[in-house]
């Protein structure tokens, strides 16, 4: 282009340039002002918010897990304790060649391959500068072996960790329960702050029910950390508070006697202190060893326990459902007396069967030829079915339901264990709602001898007999007596007793009849009649497992063991001043009097005539 032309316009050019410089400068001032406004917004308005975030960034809270509370029996024997165990742990970051180190350790301590695999899995979840366990429960010998070579293994060390241990094993497993590693589901519902750093949680039993008390309060360290979460400095420490120690009402000696008394039978025995409702015995057989659950039970072991036909994991005392059989008869008799449907002296002829008017079906008595003329005393003592068919019919199912409901049949006792079964106490209402059918009179009859729809748990049965012994004052069974915290002791508050209004005379009569079951000339539990300084009031029961067809005879030897009747026995003693109430169920035991009653007798005897202390201690 023409250069002259350009020179001519120099002044105009200069003017435009100057105006553009001024424009640019104003723009720059405005933009810098904009930056300052934004900075002021962050540093004045947002300061508090960002300062908090900065502090959160910097200060990390490291949990200090509390020591779990110990569980004792009523006489201070440890049922669940914390045992220090040696654990070989590695800090991967401090190890130069991890594979080589693992290989050497494996050779030294003969570690199985699966432990190495487990370690590798867990290592990936942990930070490289935290410890990851390789081997737990090291023996003293292994610890010594490692101690010799320890200088050659930087980043590997033996730590002492407290691990839950149950010294009585299967004996009290259904009461105490066990702890196990916290699973993902539990993690969601737990208070996160309290359980950071805690690996174990009560899974069943008292361990689960009293989890919050046993767990204690977590402490924490405020650590200054960098972005890799590596600790730079400890700012402050709040010590953890150990979990509360819990004393149970259970007597482990008595528990052992009961457990042993059940012998080869599967079944359950429950004994209750009538005055307090404290559960003295809560045995379910077979039990299981809870200790493997703590260290992590293998899939194979667990499957074996679950698939076993004996169902060792099943808490029979708490959840087992059985027909009460003849053990219901004293309660039914009392109902008849209280409602005035009959009187204690009322007599009835028992021909060995009972027939409803205009119905062919024969409701049989267990005694084929019948008991002849019996009054209520004899009917209870000899367990005459026909007498109670007749009484049940006279009462009607609704009155039976109403009366037995007061004793806690068909509903949870509210014991401090989770998973309790409801049981079943039928009524017309129940059948309409659940079966959509009308109630048949025949069903009233068999309810009268504790068969049919009715189902009870051993605990319910024990509670009912304790309530009877307590003269209508309802007993609330519970397992925990005291919770001892670091600074105070909580005794368990008992809910105010409900009282079933009963006429003393009726009660005395029934108790007398029950005493005769054991001590009378023709009592079904005559085996227990020994001169031991007290008298037992009891009632035998035999619960039918399957229905025998009409005109067929029940032949014990001819049928499969699994089809045999359950043997039941309920009792309390001393009869004149009741202290202990017991319910025993021996599955497929056959006869209450010969199988279940002696078991109950052993428990009662051990309780009322204790041998020297500690004799049964393990």
């Amino acid at each position: 282009m023409d250069r002259k032309f350009a020179i001519k316009d120099a002044l105009a050019e200069n003017r435009v340039f100057l105006s553009r410089i001024v424009t640019a400068f104003i723009l720059i001032i405005l933009l810098i002002a904009g930056l300052i406004v934004r900075l002021a917004y962050l540093q004045i308005v947002g300061h508090e918010h960002y300062a908090t975030l900065s502090k959160d960034n910097r200060i990390k809270i490291a949990p200090l897990p509390p020591t779990r509370g110990i569980i004792y029996d009523r006489r201070g024997r440890m049922l669940a304790q914390n045992v220090p165990t040696y654990s070989l742990e590695l800090i991967p970051e401090q190890i130069k060649n991890l594979d080589e180190t693992l290989g050497q350790l494996q050779q030294l301590l003969s570690i199985p391959d699966e432990k190495i695999e487990q370690f590798q899995k867990q290592r990936k979840r942990n930070k490289t500068f935290t410890t990851t366990p390789l081997l737990q429960n090291l023996s003293e010998e292994d610890v010594a072996k490692f101690a010799v070579v320890r200088p050659y293994f930087p980043g590997v060390d033996v730590y002492v960790r407290l691990v839950r241990h149950y010294p009585y094993g299967d004996l009290a497993s259904h009461v105490v329960g066990y702890v196990g590693r916290i699973n993902e589901q539990e993690l969601k519902s737990l208070p996160a702050a309290e359980y950071r750093g805690t690996d174990f949680i009560g899974k069943v039993g008292v361990e689960k029910n009293y989890e919050s008390q046993l767990h204690g309060t977590a402490g924490y360290e405020e650590l200054e950390t960098n972005a890799q979460a590596r600790t730079v400095n400890t700012v402050a420490t709040t010590e953890p508070v150990a979990g509360a120690n819990i004393y149970l009402t259970l007597d482990i000696d008595l528990q052992k006697i009961a457990y042993d008394a059940l012998g080869e039978y599967n079944g359950a025995a429950v004994a209750i202190d009538i005055k307090t409702g404290g559960v003295l015995v809560f045995a379910s057989r077979p039990g299981f060893d809870p200790n493997p659950f703590v260290s992590g039970i293998s899939g194979r072991e667990y499957k074996a326990l679950q698939d076993s036909s004996d169902q060792p994991l099943y808490n029979r005392a708490l959840r087992g459902l059985y027909p009460p059989g003849s053990t219901i008869k004293p309660f039914l008799g009392l109902a008849g007396l209280e409602y005035g449907v009959t009187d204690f002296g009322h007599r009835l002829f028992c021909p060995g069967y009972y027939r409803l008017p205009n119905v062919e079906h024969k409701y049989r008595d267990w005694k084929k030829w019948g008991h002849g003329m019996v009054d209520m005393n004899e009917a209870i003592t000899q367990s005459c079915d026909v007498y109670f068919y007749d009484l049940a019919l006279a009462l009607g199912i609704d009155k039976i339901h109403e009366f037995l409901d007061g004793f806690g049949f068909g509903k949870r006792t509210g014991i401090d264990l989770v998973g309790e079964s409801d049981g079943l106490l039928p009524s017309k209402q129940w059948k309409r709602n659940n079966r959509n059918q009308a109630w048949f009179p025949g069903e009233t009859l068999i309810t009268g001898i504790g068969q049919g729809y009715m189902q009870v748990t051993p605990l319910q049965l024990a509670r009912a007999v304790a309530t009877l012994a307590n003269r209508g004052r309802v007993v609330s069974p519970h397992l925990v007596e005291q919770i001892i915290n670091a600074n105070d002791t909580d005794s368990i508050e008992l809910s105010p007793d409900q009282v079933i209004p009963l006429k003393p005379q009726n009660l005395d009569n029934i108790i007398q009849a029950m005493t005769n079951v054991v001590h009378g000339a023709r009592g079904t539990a005559g085996k227990l009649d020994k001169a031991v300084g007290y008298r037992i009031a009891g009632k035998t029961g035999t619960a039918q497992v399957f229905t025998i067809k009409q005109e067929e005879k029940y032949n014990e030897d001819a049928i499969d063991f699994r089809m045999r009747d359950h043997a039941l026995f309920i009792a309390f003693a001393p009869a004149d001043d009741p202290k202990i109430a017991v319910a025993v169920i021996a599955e497929h035991g056959g006869h209450g009097g010969s199988v279940a009653a002696p078991m109950a007798g052993e428990i009662i005897d051990a309780y009322l005539n204790p041998k020297t202390d500690g004799q049964h201690e393990k």
């Binding site: 350009a6 962050l42 947002g46």
Partner: protein, 376 residues
């Protein structure tokens, strides 16, 4: 008016001042730059984890850059003018070379290995592009006609696209803005500017289409950093925490916990302003911005005082580009602009950008101190 100016120059009372002028130093600019450089050591000591070797490396680069600045100040601006086309052509060729045989550095092709040392041709382009545009426009009457604007834009777009393809969005942006600044100072019509803005806005979807995944992420992160607090948004969130927690007065020197404990990434390079803001608070930030403004003002003064069109346009552009540097970096650190890799000029650790910046200031000094020798 020009006579007065000359007189003023000749009548300087101080002997040292005279010596320095003979050495072609511009005292106010040099003082401003030295102040910022000193501050950079203070911040870098804290942000870099109080490492002395880091400071020594920083000092070495800064010394070399200052030396280059002073050397360039000796060169007559006419030489820059006559050298413009050649330098620009070399830059474009080198950028092409980088594209063809460049090595992979940080996942992007930016470096050219010359055996002895490696350098980024895109950095020189930051200077050579405005030189080229200033030369071209100064050869023609101003304000530029539509034809000349088109040709200038055409010249500019070649290196910008080459750099953007590396991909180095930050540098491409700076090169583009330095060229645009030349056009602006040359008196580009406001209508054309409006048209260009409208065109750019309409091209945004197209641009989005051509962006790389990480570039898109940066834009998305900029719009909503909390969406990905552990990934792409981490920089901005941690940076805002650092700045906000500094408050009005700051946590004091060496008091930055965000950088100290490694929560703030790139705390000694691109995000060094966050450390500074955390330690020195709002007062410190305003102070630093004013210091930058001081330097920019001096550069604008130099541009206004320049005696020929080429020097004027180049000086204005270099001054404005320096501001763009500051604004883009701080804007990104405080979360008002997307994260592009632009360091805080003179403060961030890193050699390349400092050399380029100091070269620019050397040219500015040259323009200012050679005035009297120019024939009118």
């Amino acid at each position: 008016m020009k006579n007065e100016m000359r007189q003023e120059n000749f009548q300087s009372p101080s002997l040292i001042g005279n010596v320095l002028r003979k050495l072609h130093f511009d005292i106010p600019l040099l003082l401003g730059l030295l102040l910022i450089c000193t501050l950079s050591f203070v911040i870098l000591y804290s942000a870099g984890g109080q490492e002395i070797p880091l400071l020594i490396r920083h000092a070495t680069r800064m010394g070399l850059a200052l030396l280059l600045m002073l050397v360039l100040a000796q060169v007559n601006p006419r030489r820059f003018q006559s050298f413009s086309v050649l330098l620009f052509s070399i830059c474009v060729l080198l950028l092409l070379a980088v594209m063809v045989m460049g090595q992979i550095g940080k996942g992007a092709q930016r470096w050219l290995d010359l055996g002895v040392f490696r350098f980024q041709p895109s950095e020189i382009t930051k200077i050579s592009a405005p030189m080229m545009i200033a030369w071209y426009l100064s050869e023609h009457p101003l304000p530029p006609s539509a034809k000349h604007v088109s040709i200038a834009v055409g010249l500019l777009i070649v290196p910008v696209l080459l750099i953007a393809k590396q991909p180095d969005l930050g540098t491409a942006l700076l090169v583009a803005s330095s060229g645009a600044a030349v056009l602006f100072f040359a008196g580009l019509s406001w209508w054309l500017m409006l048209g260009a803005v409208a065109l750019l806005a309409s091209l945004t979807p197209l641009l989005w289409h051509f962006m790389r995944e990480y570039q898109r992420n940066r834009v998305l992160t900029f719009i909503n950093p909390e969406a990905d607090p552990m990934g792409a948004g981490y920089h901005i969130i941690q940076s805002k925490i650092a700045i906000g927690s500094g408050g009005i007065n700051g946590k004091g020197w060496l008091g930055s916990t965000q950088a100290e404990l490694d929560f703030l990434p790139e705390s000694s390079t691109d995000f060094i302003f966050a450390v500074y803001a955390e330690e020195f608070g709002l007062f410190g930030c305003v102070g630093l911005l004013l210091l930058y403004l001081l330097v920019i003002s001096r550069c604008f003064y130099i541009a206004v005082q320049a005696q020929d069109t080429y020097s004027r346009l180049l000086a204005g552009s270099l001054a404005f580009t320096f501001f763009v540097y500051v604004f883009v970096n701080i804007g990104m650190v405080i979360g008002v602009l997307p994260v592009v890799g632009v360091p805080l000029p003179m403060v961030s650790y890193g050699g390349t950008s400092m050399v380029t910046l100091m070269s620019g200031f050397g040219i500015l000094m040259s323009i200012h101190t050679h005035r009297k020798l120019l024939p009118v």
